[in-house]
């Protein structure tokens, strides 16, 4: 167990180092770092100062080390647009994105899991077939377009829900959250549903496939032959064995939800990291771009690491494999 965790940690570090090299090459070799790091409006003295500060007159390997050093200190430079540290800007926006992604994940699980379970247990019912066709639609519908349609129906036509922003927020644990106020909750609803749509379909299909794989197994037949109540068979024997793939996907998809929130945040003007990165790409605010990319790399590595650990805890077979 401990050795496998250490091995995973080394792999995770390897990924982080690899990604820093890629991002570094991306911004420093493919792009022109002078343009990237220096505000075009800066004067000659300012240019010289920044070039010296970031060591752009140094050889490449030294620049990379400086980049790494900045990274470790959380110093990505100041945003050109806001004139404040890039990392601070992102951290400020993080709660909004997290709130959106967690709510969306919750919605996806609450709808996806039971519907998938139902479709898997009764595959021949018309309702199951409808559910599965619905999931194909959920896969195919472009998220951003669904967002627009949600706005059109629920905000413009019916006038039930607000179209943009977070609404009033309340403070908890040093961050601002929308879900703590009624009005904020109303603001959260549409974007969260929009973001959840694709994942709901995914979890639904995955659960259904899992159920159909588990049902013909001997232990399920045996549990039924033993005369256990159907509810217990499903809750204990089927659901428990479903959990491994579902937990993996939920973990992985949480990361992808944060990545995809870029789209939803842009539509609903949700002031999270995703909106920030799109604005930054459009305005060529490179320090923020680099900081965002590195944050995402870190997030995904940590998520993958946690999933791996959960895996080991959930599935004794993997634990035994690692020992052998």
């Amino acid at each position: 167990m401990v050795t496998s965790i250490i091995r995973r940690l080394i792999q995770a570090l390897f990924v982080i180092v690899a990604m820093t090299i890629i991002v570094f090459i991306g911004v420093s070799v493919i792009g022109n770092p002078v343009d990237i790091l220096i505000n075009p409006d800066a004067n000659q003295a300012e240019r010289a100062r920044v070039i010296a500060h970031y060591g752009l007159d140094q050889p490449l390997w030294k620049q990379y080390l400086l980049f790494l050093q900045g990274l470790l200190q959380g110093d990505f430079g100041n945003s050109f647009v806001y004139g404040r540290p890039a990392l601070g800007l992102i951290m400020e926006r993080l709660p909004a994105t997290l709130e959106l992604a967690i709510t969306a994940l919750g919605i996806a699980i609450v709808f996806g899991l039971p519907l998938g379970l139902y479709a898997g247990l009764y595959p021949n019912r018309v309702s199951s077939k409808l559910i599965m066709s619905g999931s194909i639609l959920g896969f195919s519908l472009p998220t951003f377009w669904v967002g627009l349609m949600l706005i059109m129906v629920f905000s413009v036509e019916l006038g039930w829900l607000p179209t943009n922003g977070r609404g009033p927020t309340a403070e908890l644990l040093g961050a601002q959250w929308s879900f703590l106020t009624g009005e904020g909750l109303r603001h959260l609803l549409l974007p969260a549903f929009n973001l959840a749509l694709f994942k709901t379909s995914l979890i639904m299909r995955l659960t259904r496939a899992g159920v159909q794989e588990v049902l013909p197994q001997d232990y399920v037949k045996f549990a039924r032959a033993k005369g256990l109540r159907e509810r217990r068979v499903i809750a204990v024997h089927v659901l428990k064995n479903l959990m491994i793939p579902v937990v993996t996907i939920i973990g992985l998809e949480f990361g992808s939800l944060i990545a995809f929130s870029v789209v939803t945040e842009s539509i609903f003007a949700w002031p999270g990291m995703g909106k920030l990165i799109i604005d930054s790409i459009n305005l060529l605010d490179r320090p923020v771009i680099v900081a965002y990319l590195m944050m995402m790399v870190l997030l995904f590595v940590v998520l993958n690491f946690i999933i791996d650990i959960c895996y080991t805890i959930l599935d004794p077979r993997i634990r035994l494999d690692a020992k052998a």
Partner: protein, 304 residues
């Protein structure tokens, strides 16, 4: 699966017979048949767009700003009927959709095809060479697949800058790994089979075994992934264009059209965003239906 062809005494069909069986298998599903026909129609519409669309939406000379934001069914001063309305530039939405479909299909097919070639080659090499080559390629694949496509694409666009060409490059870089992983998996199984051993015994050159023997037997999953990937690429291109990172305003793709309609949506001008979205949706669903069926038909477990 039982061999259904009893007359041959259980001998598997030769190439053409199997193809015919595959095709008839494919069309046995009504959904797939509908998807296929729809796809053909869409391709024709895109291909012949310059001849069938009422207006060239990329030619600013033909646009009349006075005709901006007209609802569906309106008529212009020159008697041209805007069946699906116009956008803020006075661009006929129907023409915009037809031309936008071209961009979408070209981007989708091009990126899926290029990613398929790169990924398949990488996967084959990894499986055939083994050792160092395999480790390096598969590590790269794992690295890539641990990040979602949209993040990889954003990363590439952040580095390369905006534009349709860069979107294609970003999509290729973001998608090749899927092929590599699948092809390697298939090739690892195929490599152990007797015909490869026979080819090795004949001392055929490595490249020949790789491309003439191993590759054809690994193609079925590639075709399935490529079909699905075209749909995904079209969706992603539209998304990126919607975010303002893809097509330019003067030559809008479907995503761009939807994006320009976004600001008018709140005032009730629904058609600028609505119809291009429907076109996008129909295209993606059609491709997915075809891909879904292809997966069933081409699945080796279902093949004789």
């Amino acid at each position: 699966m039982a061999e259904p062809n009893a007359q041959d005494g259980g001998v598997p069909d030769a190439g053409p017979g199997r193809l015919a069986k595959g095709i008839s298998d494919f069309f046995r599903s009504p959904a797939a048949a509908i998807g296929f026909v729809t796809l053909i129609v869409i391709c024709c519409l895109a291909l012949f767009a310059p001849w069938i669309s009422p207006q060239n939406p990329y030619d600013l000379m033909q646009l009349d700003i006075m005709d901006g934001r007209l609802p569906p069914g309106s008529e212009s001063m020159t008697g041209l009927v805007y069946h699906l309305g116009t956008d803020s530039q006075g661009r006929d939405i129907l023409s915009g959709i037809l031309y936008g479909l071209r961009t979408s299909l070209i981007v989708g097919v091009l990126s899926a095809f290029a990613a398929a070639i790169i990924g398949t080659t990488a996967g084959l090499f990894a499986a055939y060479m083994g050792k160092r080559t395999e480790t390096v390629i598969m590590r790269l694949v794992d690295l890539q697949l641990s990040f979602p496509t949209i993040l990889m694409a954003l990363m590439m666009l952040a580095i390369l800058g905006k534009g349709v060409t860069n979107v294609v490059i970003a999509l290729i870089i973001a998608e090749w790994a899927t092929y590599a992983r699948t092809v390697r998996g298939t090739a690892l199984v195929e490599r152990e089979k007797e015909y490869i051993e026979a080819a090795r015994m004949l001392r055929l050159p490595g490249w020949r075994i790789l491309f003439k023997h191993l590759l054809p037997n690994c193609l079925a999953p590639v075709i399935v992934i490529a079909t699905m990937q075209v749909a995904r690429a079209i969706g992603l291109e539209a998304t990126l264009s919607f975010l303002g990172l893809g097509a330019s305003v003067t030559e809008p793709s479907l995503g761009m059209l939807i994006s320009t309609g976004y600001q008018y949506l709140l005032t009730g001008l629904y058609w600028i965003s609505f119809f291009p979205g429907i076109a996008l949706l129909v295209t993606i669903v059609a491709i997915n239906l075809v891909g879904d069926r292809l997966r069933d038909v081409l699945n080796p477990r279902n093949m004789s």
